[in-house]
Amino acid sequence: MTAPIPTSQTILVVGGGISGLTVALEAAECGKQVILVEKLPTLGGRTALLYRYFPKLCHPVCGLEINLRRLKGNRNVRVLTMAEVVSITGTRGDYTATLRISPRHVTAQCTACGDCAKAVSAEIPNPYNYGLNQMKAAYLPHAMAYPQRYVVDPSIVGTPDGEKARAACKVGAIDLDMKEEIIELKVGAVAWATGWQPYDAAKIQPYGYDRFANVVTSVEFERMCDPHGPTGGKILRPFDGEPATNIAFIQCAGSRDENHLRHCSRICCMASLKQTQYVREAYGEGGKSTIYYIDIRAIDRFEDFYRKVLQDPTVRFVKSKVARIAQDDKTGGLILHGVDTEGYHRYEAPHDLVVLAVGMEPSVKGADIPAEVIADSSGFLEGSSGGGIFGAGCASGALDVNRSVQQATATALRAIQVVNKAAAAEVAR
């Protein structure tokens, strides 16, 4: 593939999740040159880490696969992984972006055979399972990774393990001398699609995420239910590894809270409703899900999904924000304390496992973006005052995949207008 020469008519897309992919592909399919920059070694973002998608409960593989196929078939997109934007200067139609590319230590020669991973013994926490298990220090991020190319973790470079990896590679793809690179690009418009991160649950002191083993977050629960996840798809109590059948979901864990995130994260009600169906899938009538909520926000057409879950006898709804959680130190069991708003009854409810439906916060907040941008009070991006930098997908607000893709498509259109104007100006000159 010949790399397109970056010019002011190029669109820079930062973040390779579903939103960044969408902006890149929509613009590229209109004939525009695009550079897609992803911090991690793989595209796909957070959606690749979900077990199933609401509302249809399909696997995330299909959606991603279609987009990756579009990507492979398009010569207008250049993908840079393990790359971050250090600075952006200039104005609409004429920006200079500086990128830092970290060494992957594996070249394009890699056939993804996995021999290097077999050869090394060092292990590191697996970020794709939110650190719930370990992985080898030479790794492929996950089965859906794109590019399908291994990574050698910098921690084993210069150690006997690093040498073992190099020796094991039959095609000589491992380059332990690879260095960090800084490159500069001229671009006309920037789409900022860096997505979201789960709110730090340990900050919600009364729920004891940092103290009680059986309190987990919704993103961890997604991984737990996935057969490729740390428990092989089994819903287990981290305290003792026993099956968890009586599960509580606590809504608005960090969201709609002036002490934490002031916005409604919009997707967590649907995420918990979806996760009750994982419990049903695992245990049939034998599992029990209880959703503690302020109000259920299944927006728009998602209401149908909510109605369906309401009919499910294994799911109970309690209108109450849990006040605090206590742990039985012997059994690891949890007691939820609170008052039910429908009747003001006080409860002390025992559960095996508590899933905190944590809020979404922008993974790069407005203030941390190396350019002048306008952000809302939660840090979600509204755009630049000059009009050449746009927020796309979850970077612009808490959105589900469907709405992220819609928003990203609109962003592609805006970016195209900017580079078209820049092109017209160049011709006039």
Partner: protein, 207 residues
């Protein structure tokens, strides 16, 4: 017009929320409550309250004037601030509880013998009389609040403590008669009178 309760009812007929907003400290926050229940579940004394803060806020909005102003619930607040630090809407719940109690007291609707209220009144009268708290008289007042027999019983049960305090010179029996005063008793009382006037002007339901 002399009974503040009667005039308040007339003025705010069917709009207890507005009455609270205009007359209760921090009352303007009541409408911000989203009924999540965190305050109710966080109160260490919660199970002893007839109505939790969450419920009181809903009752105010539902116009349950008599029930709110005559309950002893808000008098149970110990100012631990657990609810305030946890409320997702950052309502100053503790302050509202005290504001409600004070308003009910001003209107003469607060439960007469509620211990917190009774103590507050006795304490206030005790310390404003001389400008200093007379602990002996205050203690005796509290022992005998439920009658003569109960007072003597309570006193008898505490006799060892009393003798200990006597021996340590921490209790002076002569305080019972006159008691010591602050240097400028008249000055303090004049100041309090003025403060009361200002407060009454601020809080009196406007007609």
């Amino acid at each position: 017009m002399s009974d503040p309760n009667v005039s308040a009812v007339e003025q705010y007929r069917n709009n207890f929320l507005r009455e609270v907003e205009e007359n209760v400290d921090e009352g303007q926050w009541v409408k911000m409550c989203m009924q999540c229940g965190v305050c109710a579940g966080s109160c260490p004394l919660g199970e002893h309250w007839e109505h939790s803060p969450q419920k009181l806020f809903m009752m105010i909005r539902a116009g349950k004037r008599e029930a709110v102003l005559s309950t002893n619930s808000m008098w149970m607040c110990t100012s631990c601030y657990n609810c305030v630090v946890r409320c997702p809407r950052q309502l100053p719940i503790t302050q509202i509880m005290h504001g409600l109690a004070a308003y009910a007291h001003r209107l003469g609707l607060a439960p007469k013998m509620q211990p917190t209220r009774d103590f507050s009144i006795q304490f206030w009268e005790n310390c404003t009389r001389t400008g200093r708290v007379n602990e002996l008289r205050l203690t005796i007042g509290l022992y005998f609040r439920d009658g003569l027999v109960a007072g003597f019983k309570k006193g008898w049960s505490m006799r060892n403590v009393a003798f200990g305090l006597l021996k340590a010179k921490r209790l002076n029996p002569f305080e019972l008669f006159k008691g010591h005063e602050c240097k400028d008793r008249k000055g303090i009382q004049a100041m309090l009178k003025k403060a009361n006037e200002i407060d009454a002007r601020k809080k009196r339901p406007t007609t």
